[in-house]
Protein backbone atom coordinates (compact mmCIF):
# COMPACT_ATOMS: atom_id res chain seq x y z
CA UNK A 1 0.00 0.00 0.00
CA UNK A 2 2.68 2.48 1.03
CA UNK A 3 4.80 3.24 -2.02
CA UNK A 4 7.63 5.18 -0.40
CA UNK A 5 8.54 4.65 3.24
CA UNK A 6 11.03 6.79 5.10
CA UNK A 7 11.62 5.04 8.37
CA UNK A 8 13.29 6.71 11.38
CA UNK A 9 15.87 8.58 9.26
CA UNK A 10 18.73 10.33 10.96
CA UNK A 11 21.63 12.29 9.53
CA UNK A 12 24.47 13.88 11.46
CA UNK A 13 27.15 16.25 10.21
CA UNK A 14 29.90 15.70 12.70
CA UNK A 15 28.00 16.07 15.95
CA UNK A 16 25.38 18.41 14.53
CA UNK A 17 21.99 16.85 13.94
CA UNK A 18 20.72 17.57 10.44
CA UNK A 19 17.73 15.24 10.51
CA UNK A 20 16.36 13.05 13.29
CA UNK A 21 13.41 10.68 13.72
CA UNK A 22 12.03 11.32 10.30
CA UNK A 23 9.10 9.04 9.52
CA UNK A 24 6.89 9.31 6.47
CA UNK A 25 4.75 6.93 4.44
CA UNK A 26 3.67 8.07 1.01
CA UNK A 27 1.17 6.38 -1.26
CA UNK A 28 1.64 6.08 -5.01
CA UNK A 29 0.96 9.34 -6.85
CA UNK A 30 0.96 11.45 -3.71
CA UNK A 31 2.39 14.97 -3.66
CA UNK A 32 4.11 15.78 -0.37
CA UNK A 33 5.92 19.02 0.49
CA UNK A 34 8.71 19.36 3.01
CA UNK A 35 8.22 22.82 4.46
CA UNK A 36 10.58 24.61 6.82
CA UNK A 37 13.12 27.39 7.20
CA UNK A 38 16.67 26.91 5.96
CA UNK A 39 18.60 24.49 8.15
CA UNK A 40 15.45 22.59 9.08
CA UNK A 41 16.70 19.42 7.41
CA UNK A 42 14.19 19.32 4.56
CA UNK A 43 16.79 19.35 1.78
CA UNK A 44 18.98 16.82 3.60
CA UNK A 45 16.02 14.46 3.89
CA UNK A 46 15.27 14.81 0.18
CA UNK A 47 18.92 14.21 -0.67
CA UNK A 48 18.81 10.99 1.33
CA UNK A 49 15.87 9.86 -0.83
CA UNK A 50 17.90 10.79 -3.93
CA UNK A 51 20.93 8.92 -2.60
CA UNK A 52 23.26 11.93 -2.40
CA UNK A 53 23.45 11.57 1.39
CA UNK A 54 23.66 8.35 3.38
CA UNK A 55 21.43 8.21 6.44
CA UNK A 56 23.21 7.40 9.71
CA UNK A 57 20.15 5.47 10.81
CA UNK A 58 16.85 4.31 9.37
CA UNK A 59 15.70 2.88 6.08
CA UNK A 60 14.19 4.05 2.82
CA UNK A 61 11.87 1.60 1.09
CA UNK A 62 10.62 2.29 -2.42
CA UNK A 63 7.91 0.07 -3.87
CA UNK A 64 8.76 -2.74 -1.49
CA UNK A 65 12.52 -2.55 -2.10
CA UNK A 66 15.03 -1.30 0.45
CA UNK A 67 17.04 1.38 -1.38
CA UNK A 68 18.79 2.85 1.67
CA UNK A 69 22.26 1.97 0.44
CA UNK A 70 21.61 1.97 -3.30
CA UNK A 71 23.74 4.25 -5.51
CA UNK A 72 21.85 7.35 -6.73
CA UNK A 73 22.09 6.26 -10.38
CA UNK A 74 20.29 2.98 -9.62
CA UNK A 75 17.31 4.50 -7.83
CA UNK A 76 15.07 5.71 -10.66
CA UNK A 77 14.54 8.97 -8.85
CA UNK A 78 14.13 12.16 -10.90
CA UNK A 79 15.49 15.36 -9.45
CA UNK A 80 14.88 19.05 -10.18
CA UNK A 81 17.35 21.52 -8.70
CA UNK A 82 16.89 25.09 -7.52
CA UNK A 83 19.64 26.22 -9.91
CA UNK A 84 18.07 24.27 -12.83
CA UNK A 85 21.43 22.47 -13.35
CA UNK A 86 20.77 22.02 -17.05
CA UNK A 87 23.79 20.83 -19.02
CA UNK A 88 24.91 24.06 -20.69
CA UNK A 89 26.58 22.37 -23.66
CA UNK A 90 23.50 20.39 -24.69
CA UNK A 91 20.40 21.60 -26.49
CA UNK A 92 16.98 21.45 -24.85
CA UNK A 93 16.27 18.21 -26.73
CA UNK A 94 19.56 16.61 -25.66
CA UNK A 95 19.03 17.69 -22.08
CA UNK A 96 15.58 16.12 -21.97
CA UNK A 97 16.83 12.97 -23.68
CA UNK A 98 19.95 12.68 -21.50
CA UNK A 99 18.59 10.04 -19.11
CA UNK A 100 17.10 8.07 -22.01
CA UNK A 101 20.43 8.18 -23.84
CA UNK A 102 22.18 6.82 -20.72
CA UNK A 103 19.67 3.97 -20.52
CA UNK A 104 20.58 3.08 -24.14
CA UNK A 105 17.07 3.64 -25.46
CA UNK A 106 16.96 3.50 -29.29
CA UNK A 107 17.34 6.92 -30.95
CA UNK A 108 13.91 6.91 -32.59
CA UNK A 109 12.21 6.17 -29.30
CA UNK A 110 14.18 8.88 -27.54
CA UNK A 111 13.03 11.33 -30.20
CA UNK A 112 9.41 10.37 -29.66
CA UNK A 113 9.63 10.65 -25.90
CA UNK A 114 11.43 14.02 -26.12
CA UNK A 115 8.71 15.34 -28.46
CA UNK A 116 6.11 14.19 -25.98
CA UNK A 117 7.94 15.97 -23.13
CA UNK A 118 8.36 19.16 -25.15
CA UNK A 119 4.61 19.12 -25.72
CA UNK A 120 3.97 18.59 -22.03
CA UNK A 121 6.01 21.67 -21.07
CA UNK A 122 4.70 23.61 -24.09
CA UNK A 123 8.12 24.28 -25.58
CA UNK A 124 7.84 22.35 -28.82
CA UNK A 125 9.43 25.19 -30.80
CA UNK A 126 12.50 25.57 -28.60
CA UNK A 127 14.05 22.11 -28.80
CA UNK A 128 17.22 23.27 -30.59
CA UNK A 129 17.99 26.12 -28.19
CA UNK A 130 20.78 26.00 -25.63
CA UNK A 131 19.95 26.62 -21.96
CA UNK A 132 21.71 30.01 -22.03
CA UNK A 133 19.17 31.14 -24.64
CA UNK A 134 16.19 30.44 -22.37
CA UNK A 135 14.51 32.39 -19.57
CA UNK A 136 14.70 31.06 -16.02
CA UNK A 137 11.14 29.76 -16.15
CA UNK A 138 11.79 27.98 -19.45
CA UNK A 139 14.99 26.46 -18.09
CA UNK A 140 13.18 25.08 -15.07
CA UNK A 141 10.47 23.57 -17.30
CA UNK A 142 13.20 21.84 -19.31
CA UNK A 143 14.75 20.62 -16.07
CA UNK A 144 11.37 19.20 -15.07
CA UNK A 145 11.00 17.48 -18.44
CA UNK A 146 14.53 16.09 -18.16
CA UNK A 147 13.74 14.64 -14.73
CA UNK A 148 10.46 12.98 -15.74
CA UNK A 149 11.47 11.81 -19.23
CA UNK A 150 12.95 8.49 -17.97
CA UNK A 151 9.67 7.86 -16.05
CA UNK A 152 11.20 7.85 -12.57
CA UNK A 153 9.38 6.22 -9.68
CA UNK A 154 9.73 9.31 -7.54
CA UNK A 155 10.16 12.94 -8.51
CA UNK A 156 12.13 15.20 -6.18
CA UNK A 157 11.93 18.98 -6.51
CA UNK A 158 14.40 21.03 -4.47
CA UNK A 159 13.08 24.59 -4.17
CA UNK A 160 12.52 24.61 -7.92
CA UNK A 161 10.86 28.02 -8.04
CA UNK A 162 13.01 30.01 -5.61
CA UNK A 163 15.19 31.54 -8.33
CA UNK A 164 12.24 32.78 -10.40
CA UNK A 165 10.14 35.97 -10.47
CA UNK A 166 6.97 35.98 -8.43
CA UNK A 167 4.64 35.98 -11.42
CA UNK A 168 6.41 33.12 -13.22
CA UNK A 169 6.52 31.26 -9.93
CA UNK A 170 2.74 31.14 -9.59
CA UNK A 171 2.22 30.05 -13.20
CA UNK A 172 4.87 27.36 -13.10
CA UNK A 173 3.53 26.12 -9.79
CA UNK A 174 0.19 25.30 -11.39
CA UNK A 175 1.99 23.71 -14.33
CA UNK A 176 4.04 21.45 -12.06
CA UNK A 177 0.92 20.30 -10.24
CA UNK A 178 -0.95 19.66 -13.49
CA UNK A 179 1.91 17.60 -14.95
CA UNK A 180 2.34 15.68 -11.70
CA UNK A 181 -1.35 14.79 -11.61
CA UNK A 182 -1.49 13.92 -15.30
CA UNK A 183 1.41 11.48 -14.90
CA UNK A 184 0.39 10.32 -11.43
CA UNK A 185 3.99 10.57 -10.30
CA UNK A 186 4.89 10.32 -6.62
CA UNK A 187 6.48 13.65 -5.73
CA UNK A 188 8.43 15.26 -2.90
CA UNK A 189 8.66 19.02 -3.04
CA UNK A 190 11.07 20.95 -0.81
CA UNK A 191 10.26 24.58 -0.14
CA UNK A 192 10.48 27.30 2.47
CA UNK A 193 7.48 29.06 0.97
CA UNK A 194 4.34 28.07 2.89
CA UNK A 195 2.02 29.36 0.17
CA UNK A 196 3.72 27.07 -2.36
CA UNK A 197 3.52 24.07 -0.04
CA UNK A 198 -0.14 24.70 0.81
CA UNK A 199 -1.31 25.27 -2.74
CA UNK A 200 0.48 22.28 -4.29
CA UNK A 201 0.43 19.44 -1.84
CA UNK A 202 -1.74 16.55 -0.84
CA UNK A 203 0.14 16.58 2.44
CA UNK A 204 2.71 18.87 4.04
CA UNK A 205 5.57 17.88 6.34
CA UNK A 206 6.55 20.89 8.45
CA UNK A 207 10.15 20.64 9.70
CA UNK A 208 12.27 22.61 12.11
CA UNK A 209 15.76 21.94 13.46
CA UNK A 210 15.93 18.53 11.81
CA UNK A 211 12.67 17.30 13.27
CA UNK A 212 9.18 16.79 11.93
CA UNK A 213 6.81 19.24 13.60
CA UNK A 214 3.63 18.08 11.89
CA UNK A 215 2.44 16.01 8.95
CA UNK A 216 -0.98 16.69 7.53
CA UNK A 217 -3.14 18.11 4.79
CA UNK A 218 -2.71 21.83 4.14
CA UNK A 219 -6.15 22.36 5.71
CA UNK A 220 -5.18 20.56 8.90
CA UNK A 221 -1.77 22.24 9.11
CA UNK A 222 -3.29 25.69 8.80
CA UNK A 223 -6.34 25.26 11.01
CA UNK A 224 -5.09 22.89 13.68
CA UNK A 225 -1.34 23.47 13.99
CA UNK A 226 0.18 20.89 16.27
CA UNK A 227 2.90 23.14 17.67
CA UNK A 228 3.60 26.83 18.15
CA UNK A 229 6.26 26.59 15.48
CA UNK A 230 3.81 25.29 12.89
CA UNK A 231 1.25 27.90 13.83
CA UNK A 232 3.83 30.65 13.44
CA UNK A 233 5.49 29.37 10.31
CA UNK A 234 2.33 28.66 8.36
CA UNK A 235 0.42 31.88 7.80
CA UNK A 236 0.51 35.04 9.92
CA UNK A 237 -0.42 34.88 13.58
CA UNK A 238 -1.39 37.49 16.14
CA UNK A 239 -0.49 36.85 19.75
CA UNK A 240 -2.72 38.33 22.44
CA UNK A 241 -2.42 38.03 26.17
CA UNK A 242 -4.71 38.59 29.15
CA UNK A 243 -5.13 37.59 32.78
CA UNK A 244 -7.39 34.70 33.76
CA UNK A 245 -10.44 35.95 35.67
CA UNK A 246 -10.91 32.79 37.75
CA UNK A 247 -8.95 29.62 38.41
CA UNK A 248 -9.60 27.03 35.71
CA UNK A 249 -11.96 29.42 33.91
CA UNK A 250 -12.35 30.26 30.24
CA UNK A 251 -12.40 34.06 30.41
CA UNK A 252 -9.47 36.47 30.12
CA UNK A 253 -9.35 40.14 30.94
CA UNK A 254 -7.61 42.27 28.36
CA UNK A 255 -7.49 45.91 29.45
CA UNK A 256 -11.06 46.58 30.53
CA UNK A 257 -12.70 43.96 28.31
CA UNK A 258 -13.43 40.29 28.92
CA UNK A 259 -12.63 37.75 26.25
CA UNK A 260 -13.92 34.20 26.23
CA UNK A 261 -11.88 31.27 25.02
CA UNK A 262 -13.26 28.03 23.58
CA UNK A 263 -11.75 25.85 26.28
CA UNK A 264 -11.34 26.15 30.02
CA UNK A 265 -7.83 26.76 31.33
CA UNK A 266 -7.69 23.71 33.55
CA UNK A 267 -5.08 23.93 36.25
CA UNK A 268 -4.31 27.63 35.74
CA UNK A 269 -4.74 29.98 38.65
CA UNK A 270 -6.74 33.21 38.65
CA UNK A 271 -4.69 36.28 37.52
CA UNK A 272 -2.14 34.13 35.70
CA UNK A 273 -1.00 35.45 32.31
CA UNK A 274 -2.48 33.54 29.34
CA UNK A 275 -1.45 33.92 25.70
CA UNK A 276 -3.53 32.94 22.71
CA UNK A 277 -3.25 33.32 18.95
CA UNK A 278 -5.57 34.60 16.26
CA UNK A 279 -5.32 34.42 12.45
CA UNK A 280 -5.67 37.88 10.83
CA UNK A 281 -8.64 36.70 8.75
CA UNK A 282 -10.48 35.40 11.83
CA UNK A 283 -10.98 38.97 13.04
CA UNK A 284 -13.78 41.18 11.66
CA UNK A 285 -13.42 44.95 12.19
CA UNK A 286 -16.59 47.05 12.75
CA UNK A 287 -17.18 50.74 13.39
CA UNK A 288 -17.48 51.31 17.16
CA UNK A 289 -21.12 51.28 18.37
CA UNK A 290 -22.82 51.09 21.74
CA UNK A 291 -25.27 48.53 20.42
CA UNK A 292 -25.00 45.09 22.03
CA UNK A 293 -23.22 42.73 19.67
CA UNK A 294 -23.61 39.03 19.00
CA UNK A 295 -23.23 37.41 22.45
CA UNK A 296 -21.47 34.43 20.86
CA UNK A 297 -18.55 36.63 19.77
CA UNK A 298 -15.75 38.46 21.55
CA UNK A 299 -15.28 42.20 21.03
CA UNK A 300 -12.16 44.32 21.56
CA UNK A 301 -11.56 47.99 20.79
CA UNK A 302 -8.46 48.79 18.76
CA UNK A 303 -6.71 51.82 17.28
CA UNK A 304 -5.87 51.67 13.58
CA UNK A 305 -2.17 52.32 12.96
CA UNK A 306 -1.94 51.60 9.27
CA UNK A 307 -4.01 50.39 6.34
CA UNK A 308 -2.60 48.58 3.30
CA UNK A 309 -4.93 48.15 0.38
CA UNK A 310 -3.92 44.97 -1.50
CA UNK A 311 -6.89 44.77 -3.86
CA UNK A 312 -9.15 41.92 -2.84
CA UNK A 313 -7.79 42.05 0.68
CA UNK A 314 -7.38 45.01 3.01
CA UNK A 315 -4.68 44.52 5.62
CA UNK A 316 -4.73 46.65 8.77
CA UNK A 317 -2.20 47.11 11.51
CA UNK A 318 -4.11 47.82 14.70
CA UNK A 319 -3.20 48.18 18.35
CA UNK A 320 -5.05 46.50 21.20
CA UNK A 321 -3.91 47.37 24.69
CA UNK A 322 -0.33 47.97 23.39
CA UNK A 323 -0.20 44.70 21.42
CA UNK A 324 0.10 45.05 17.65
CA UNK A 325 -2.33 42.96 15.61
CA UNK A 326 -2.73 42.25 11.94
CA UNK A 327 -6.29 42.14 10.59
CA UNK A 328 -7.32 41.02 7.09
CA UNK A 329 -10.73 41.77 5.56
CA UNK A 330 -12.09 41.51 2.07
CA UNK A 331 -12.44 44.70 0.11
CA UNK A 332 -15.99 46.06 0.29
CA UNK A 333 -16.79 48.64 -2.42
CA UNK A 334 -19.71 49.96 -0.34
CA UNK A 335 -17.62 50.60 2.76
CA UNK A 336 -14.17 52.25 2.51
CA UNK A 337 -11.59 50.91 5.00
CA UNK A 338 -11.00 52.89 8.24
CA UNK A 339 -8.31 55.55 8.35
CA UNK A 340 -5.17 55.63 10.38
CA UNK A 341 -5.99 56.84 13.92
CA UNK A 342 -9.63 55.61 13.85
CA UNK A 343 -10.87 53.35 16.58
CA UNK A 344 -12.52 50.12 15.46
CA UNK A 345 -14.21 47.23 17.18
CA UNK A 346 -12.74 43.82 16.49
CA UNK A 347 -15.06 40.82 16.59
CA UNK A 348 -13.86 37.22 16.72
CA UNK A 349 -15.18 33.78 17.55
CA UNK A 350 -13.90 32.11 20.74
CA UNK A 351 -13.33 29.01 18.59
CA UNK A 352 -10.78 30.96 16.50
CA UNK A 353 -8.57 31.49 19.55
CA UNK A 354 -5.70 29.01 19.42
CA UNK A 355 -4.03 28.36 22.70
CA UNK A 356 -0.26 28.64 22.96
CA UNK A 357 1.20 25.55 24.51
CA UNK A 358 3.32 25.94 27.62
CA UNK A 359 3.58 29.70 27.96
Amino acid sequence: MDFLILNDLRKLYGSAVAVEQFDLRMSRGEFVSFLGPSGSGKTTTMRMVAGFENPDRGTIVLDGMDITNLQPNKRKVGMVFQSYALFPHLTVRDNIGFGLMLSKMPKAEIGKRVDEMLGLIQMTELGQRFPSQLSGGQQQRVALARAIAPRPQVLLLDEPLSALDAKIRVGLRAEIRAIQQALGITTIYVTHDQEEAMSLSDRVVVMSHGRVEQVGTPYAIYNTPATTFVAGFVGTLNVLQGTLTQTGGDTLRIGSTNVRLATKMEGRKADSLIKFQLRPEAITPHPVTDLPGNPALNYLNARVEGVTFLGAVVRMRVNVNDSPLSVDTFNNPRMPPPQKGDTVQLAFDPGACMSVAAV
Partner: protein, 283 residues
Protein backbone atom coordinates in the same frame (compact mmCIF):
# COMPACT_ATOMS: atom_id res chain seq x y z
CA UNK B 1 23.79 66.24 -32.63
CA UNK B 2 24.07 62.49 -31.87
CA UNK B 3 26.44 61.99 -34.80
CA UNK B 4 28.73 64.74 -33.55
CA UNK B 5 28.83 63.11 -30.12
CA UNK B 6 29.81 59.79 -31.61
CA UNK B 7 32.61 61.30 -33.67
CA UNK B 8 33.93 63.03 -30.56
CA UNK B 9 33.88 59.72 -28.69
CA UNK B 10 36.38 58.29 -31.16
CA UNK B 11 38.87 60.98 -30.18
CA UNK B 12 39.24 59.20 -26.84
CA UNK B 13 40.80 56.23 -28.64
CA UNK B 14 43.53 58.22 -30.38
CA UNK B 15 46.27 57.64 -27.77
CA UNK B 16 45.67 53.91 -27.79
CA UNK B 17 45.55 53.72 -31.57
CA UNK B 18 48.79 55.70 -31.84
CA UNK B 19 50.41 53.30 -29.38
CA UNK B 20 49.18 50.26 -31.30
CA UNK B 21 50.35 51.76 -34.57
CA UNK B 22 53.83 52.66 -33.33
CA UNK B 23 54.68 49.56 -31.35
CA UNK B 24 52.70 46.83 -33.04
CA UNK B 25 51.17 47.56 -36.43
CA UNK B 26 53.97 49.57 -38.02
CA UNK B 27 56.89 47.27 -37.07
CA UNK B 28 54.85 44.20 -37.93
CA UNK B 29 53.76 45.53 -41.28
CA UNK B 30 57.37 46.55 -42.00
CA UNK B 31 58.40 42.93 -41.56
CA UNK B 32 55.50 41.78 -43.70
CA UNK B 33 56.22 44.29 -46.49
CA UNK B 34 59.98 43.84 -46.61
CA UNK B 35 59.61 40.07 -46.81
CA UNK B 36 58.42 40.65 -50.34
CA UNK B 37 60.96 43.26 -51.40
CA UNK B 38 64.37 42.54 -52.90
CA UNK B 39 67.65 44.44 -52.46
CA UNK B 40 66.78 46.84 -55.27
CA UNK B 41 63.32 47.63 -53.93
CA UNK B 42 61.40 45.46 -56.37
CA UNK B 43 58.65 42.98 -55.49
CA UNK B 44 59.88 39.42 -55.05
CA UNK B 45 58.94 36.05 -53.63
CA UNK B 46 62.56 34.97 -53.45
CA UNK B 47 62.83 35.67 -49.69
CA UNK B 48 59.82 33.53 -48.94
CA UNK B 49 61.14 30.71 -51.10
CA UNK B 50 64.51 30.99 -49.38
CA UNK B 51 62.83 29.97 -46.11
CA UNK B 52 62.20 26.55 -47.61
CA UNK B 53 65.81 25.60 -47.25
CA UNK B 54 66.39 22.34 -45.30
CA UNK B 55 68.34 23.83 -42.40
CA UNK B 56 65.75 26.58 -41.89
CA UNK B 57 62.86 24.16 -42.19
CA UNK B 58 64.61 22.04 -39.57
CA UNK B 59 64.70 25.03 -37.27
CA UNK B 60 60.96 25.61 -37.76
CA UNK B 61 60.44 21.89 -37.26
CA UNK B 62 62.38 21.88 -33.98
CA UNK B 63 60.39 24.89 -32.76
CA UNK B 64 57.10 23.28 -33.75
CA UNK B 65 58.10 20.01 -32.14
CA UNK B 66 59.07 21.57 -28.83
CA UNK B 67 55.99 23.80 -28.82
CA UNK B 68 53.52 21.05 -29.65
CA UNK B 69 55.04 18.53 -27.23
CA UNK B 70 55.28 20.97 -24.31
CA UNK B 71 51.85 22.45 -25.08
CA UNK B 72 50.13 19.07 -25.05
CA UNK B 73 52.27 17.70 -22.21
CA UNK B 74 51.83 20.89 -20.21
CA UNK B 75 48.11 20.95 -20.93
CA UNK B 76 47.60 17.39 -19.71
CA UNK B 77 49.84 17.76 -16.69
CA UNK B 78 48.34 21.13 -15.77
CA UNK B 79 44.78 19.88 -16.19
CA UNK B 80 45.49 16.87 -13.99
CA UNK B 81 46.94 19.13 -11.31
CA UNK B 82 44.00 21.54 -11.60
CA UNK B 83 41.63 18.60 -11.28
CA UNK B 84 43.49 17.22 -8.25
CA UNK B 85 43.42 20.56 -6.49
CA UNK B 86 39.83 21.38 -7.38
CA UNK B 87 38.13 18.02 -6.92
CA UNK B 88 40.58 15.70 -5.16
CA UNK B 89 39.26 16.42 -1.69
CA UNK B 90 42.60 17.86 -0.56
CA UNK B 91 42.80 20.46 2.21
CA UNK B 92 42.24 24.04 1.12
CA UNK B 93 45.78 25.03 2.09
CA UNK B 94 47.15 22.71 -0.62
CA UNK B 95 45.13 24.59 -3.16
CA UNK B 96 46.44 28.02 -2.22
CA UNK B 97 50.03 26.78 -2.14
CA UNK B 98 49.63 25.22 -5.60
CA UNK B 99 48.13 28.45 -6.96
CA UNK B 100 50.99 30.54 -5.56
CA UNK B 101 53.75 28.21 -6.73
CA UNK B 102 52.12 27.92 -10.15
CA UNK B 103 51.84 31.70 -10.51
CA UNK B 104 55.53 32.07 -9.70
CA UNK B 105 56.60 29.26 -12.02
CA UNK B 106 54.43 30.52 -14.89
CA UNK B 107 56.13 33.90 -14.65
CA UNK B 108 59.57 32.44 -14.05
CA UNK B 109 61.54 31.61 -17.11
CA UNK B 110 64.25 32.95 -19.30
CA UNK B 111 67.89 32.64 -18.32
CA UNK B 112 67.59 31.66 -14.61
CA UNK B 113 65.34 28.73 -15.51
CA UNK B 114 68.06 27.40 -17.82
CA UNK B 115 70.63 27.73 -15.02
CA UNK B 116 68.41 25.76 -12.64
CA UNK B 117 68.01 22.91 -15.10
CA UNK B 118 71.73 22.78 -15.85
CA UNK B 119 72.43 22.45 -12.12
CA UNK B 120 69.80 19.74 -11.88
CA UNK B 121 70.32 17.71 -15.03
CA UNK B 122 73.62 18.83 -16.53
CA UNK B 123 76.37 16.31 -17.01
CA UNK B 124 77.40 16.84 -13.37
CA UNK B 125 73.97 17.92 -12.20
CA UNK B 126 72.51 16.94 -8.84
CA UNK B 127 69.85 14.62 -10.23
CA UNK B 128 72.23 13.16 -12.80
CA UNK B 129 74.66 12.24 -10.02
CA UNK B 130 71.87 10.94 -7.81
CA UNK B 131 70.59 8.67 -10.57
CA UNK B 132 74.11 7.42 -11.22
CA UNK B 133 74.23 6.28 -7.60
CA UNK B 134 71.01 4.38 -8.27
CA UNK B 135 72.66 2.80 -11.30
CA UNK B 136 70.97 4.90 -13.97
CA UNK B 137 73.41 6.66 -16.26
CA UNK B 138 71.27 9.33 -17.95
CA UNK B 139 73.95 10.57 -20.32
CA UNK B 140 74.96 7.02 -21.10
CA UNK B 141 71.35 6.41 -22.14
CA UNK B 142 71.59 9.27 -24.61
CA UNK B 143 69.88 11.93 -22.58
CA UNK B 144 71.26 15.44 -22.48
CA UNK B 145 69.83 18.60 -20.94
CA UNK B 146 71.48 20.48 -23.80
CA UNK B 147 69.19 18.83 -26.34
CA UNK B 148 65.68 19.31 -27.66
CA UNK B 149 64.42 16.89 -24.98
CA UNK B 150 66.25 18.84 -22.29
CA UNK B 151 64.74 22.06 -23.55
CA UNK B 152 61.31 20.47 -23.40
CA UNK B 153 61.82 19.54 -19.75
CA UNK B 154 62.76 23.13 -18.98
CA UNK B 155 59.81 24.57 -20.92
CA UNK B 156 57.41 22.28 -19.08
CA UNK B 157 58.47 24.09 -15.93
CA UNK B 158 56.51 27.18 -16.98
CA UNK B 159 54.01 25.47 -19.29
CA UNK B 160 52.04 23.28 -16.93
CA UNK B 161 51.77 25.86 -14.14
CA UNK B 162 50.27 28.28 -16.67
CA UNK B 163 47.75 25.59 -17.56
CA UNK B 164 46.86 25.15 -13.89
CA UNK B 165 46.09 28.83 -13.56
CA UNK B 166 43.76 28.76 -16.55
CA UNK B 167 42.08 25.42 -15.89
CA UNK B 168 41.50 25.80 -12.16
CA UNK B 169 38.60 28.26 -12.59
CA UNK B 170 37.21 25.97 -15.30
CA UNK B 171 37.21 22.99 -12.94
CA UNK B 172 35.73 25.14 -10.18
CA UNK B 173 32.98 26.07 -12.63
CA UNK B 174 31.76 22.47 -12.87
CA UNK B 175 28.65 22.50 -10.70
CA UNK B 176 27.98 19.77 -8.19
CA UNK B 177 24.38 19.73 -9.46
CA UNK B 178 25.52 18.56 -12.92
CA UNK B 179 27.11 15.54 -11.31
CA UNK B 180 24.01 14.89 -9.23
CA UNK B 181 21.69 15.41 -12.17
CA UNK B 182 23.73 12.87 -14.15
CA UNK B 183 23.51 10.40 -11.27
CA UNK B 184 19.77 10.84 -10.79
CA UNK B 185 19.33 10.26 -14.54
CA UNK B 186 21.10 6.92 -14.21
CA UNK B 187 24.68 7.90 -15.11
CA UNK B 188 27.86 6.76 -13.37
CA UNK B 189 31.18 8.62 -13.00
CA UNK B 190 32.35 7.63 -16.47
CA UNK B 191 29.08 8.83 -18.01
CA UNK B 192 29.47 12.13 -16.17
CA UNK B 193 32.96 12.84 -17.48
CA UNK B 194 32.25 11.58 -20.97
CA UNK B 195 28.97 13.37 -21.55
CA UNK B 196 29.15 16.36 -19.21
CA UNK B 197 32.47 17.20 -17.55
CA UNK B 198 34.89 16.90 -20.46
CA UNK B 199 32.65 18.49 -23.12
CA UNK B 200 32.13 21.50 -20.84
CA UNK B 201 35.87 21.81 -20.16
CA UNK B 202 36.83 21.32 -23.81
CA UNK B 203 36.72 24.99 -24.95
CA UNK B 204 38.94 26.13 -22.05
CA UNK B 205 41.27 23.20 -22.61
CA UNK B 206 41.69 23.90 -26.33
CA UNK B 207 42.15 27.62 -25.76
CA UNK B 208 44.80 27.12 -23.12
CA UNK B 209 46.66 24.52 -25.15
CA UNK B 210 47.02 26.95 -28.04
CA UNK B 211 48.17 29.61 -25.57
CA UNK B 212 50.85 27.22 -24.33
CA UNK B 213 51.86 26.51 -27.92
CA UNK B 214 52.43 30.19 -28.60
CA UNK B 215 54.15 30.60 -25.27
CA UNK B 216 56.75 28.00 -26.22
CA UNK B 217 57.00 28.88 -29.91
CA UNK B 218 58.09 32.45 -29.25
CA UNK B 219 60.43 31.60 -26.36
CA UNK B 220 64.05 32.54 -26.85
CA UNK B 221 65.94 33.31 -23.65
CA UNK B 222 65.77 29.85 -22.05
CA UNK B 223 66.96 28.17 -25.24
CA UNK B 224 69.73 30.72 -25.67
CA UNK B 225 71.10 30.01 -22.21
CA UNK B 226 70.43 26.28 -22.06
CA UNK B 227 71.22 24.79 -25.45
CA UNK B 228 72.89 27.71 -27.22
CA UNK B 229 73.99 26.66 -30.69
CA UNK B 230 73.47 22.96 -29.97
CA UNK B 231 69.79 23.14 -30.82
CA UNK B 232 68.68 25.38 -33.64
CA UNK B 233 65.16 26.53 -32.99
CA UNK B 234 63.73 29.27 -35.15
CA UNK B 235 64.03 32.06 -32.58
CA UNK B 236 67.78 31.40 -32.38
CA UNK B 237 68.12 31.51 -36.17
CA UNK B 238 66.34 34.87 -36.20
CA UNK B 239 68.58 36.14 -33.39
CA UNK B 240 71.64 35.31 -35.49
CA UNK B 241 70.10 37.13 -38.41
CA UNK B 242 69.51 40.19 -36.23
CA UNK B 243 73.10 40.17 -35.07
CA UNK B 244 74.20 39.70 -38.66
CA UNK B 245 76.41 36.73 -37.78
CA UNK B 246 76.02 34.41 -40.74
CA UNK B 247 75.43 34.96 -44.43
CA UNK B 248 73.50 38.05 -43.58
CA UNK B 249 70.54 38.32 -45.89
CA UNK B 250 68.11 41.04 -44.80
CA UNK B 251 65.27 39.86 -47.01
CA UNK B 252 65.51 36.33 -45.68
CA UNK B 253 65.45 37.45 -42.04
CA UNK B 254 62.18 39.34 -42.66
CA UNK B 255 60.70 36.25 -44.24
CA UNK B 256 61.84 34.10 -41.28
CA UNK B 257 60.14 36.43 -38.81
CA UNK B 258 57.07 36.51 -41.03
CA UNK B 259 57.03 32.71 -40.95
CA UNK B 260 56.77 32.75 -37.16
CA UNK B 261 53.91 35.22 -37.27
CA UNK B 262 52.12 33.16 -39.93
CA UNK B 263 52.40 30.00 -37.82
CA UNK B 264 51.12 31.78 -34.71
CA UNK B 265 48.25 33.39 -36.61
CA UNK B 266 47.38 29.97 -38.01
CA UNK B 267 47.40 28.58 -34.46
CA UNK B 268 45.07 31.32 -33.26
CA UNK B 269 42.76 30.77 -36.23
CA UNK B 270 42.57 27.02 -35.73
CA UNK B 271 41.95 27.66 -32.08
CA UNK B 272 39.11 30.11 -32.66
CA UNK B 273 37.51 27.73 -35.15
CA UNK B 274 37.67 24.86 -32.67
CA UNK B 275 36.62 27.14 -29.89
CA UNK B 276 33.57 28.34 -31.80
CA UNK B 277 32.54 24.78 -32.52
CA UNK B 278 33.17 23.56 -28.99
CA UNK B 279 31.47 26.49 -27.30
CA UNK B 280 28.43 27.09 -29.51
CA UNK B 281 26.48 26.82 -26.31
CA UNK B 282 28.19 29.73 -24.60
CA UNK B 283 26.50 33.09 -24.79
Amino acid sequence: MPSRRVSLAWVGLVPFLLFGLAFLIYPASTILARSFIDKDGGLTLANVFAVFEPSLLDAYGASLQISIVTAIGGAIMGSLLAWAVSMGGLPHSVRSVVVTVSSVAANFGGIPLAFAFITLLGRTGALTKFLTVLGVDLYGLGFSIYSLQGLMLAYLYFQFPLMVLIMLPAFDGLKREWREATASLGGNVVDYWRHVGLPILLPSFLGSTVLLFGNAFGAYATAEALTGSRVDIITRVISRQIRGDVLYNPGLSYALALGMVVILVAAISIYSLLQRRASRWRQ
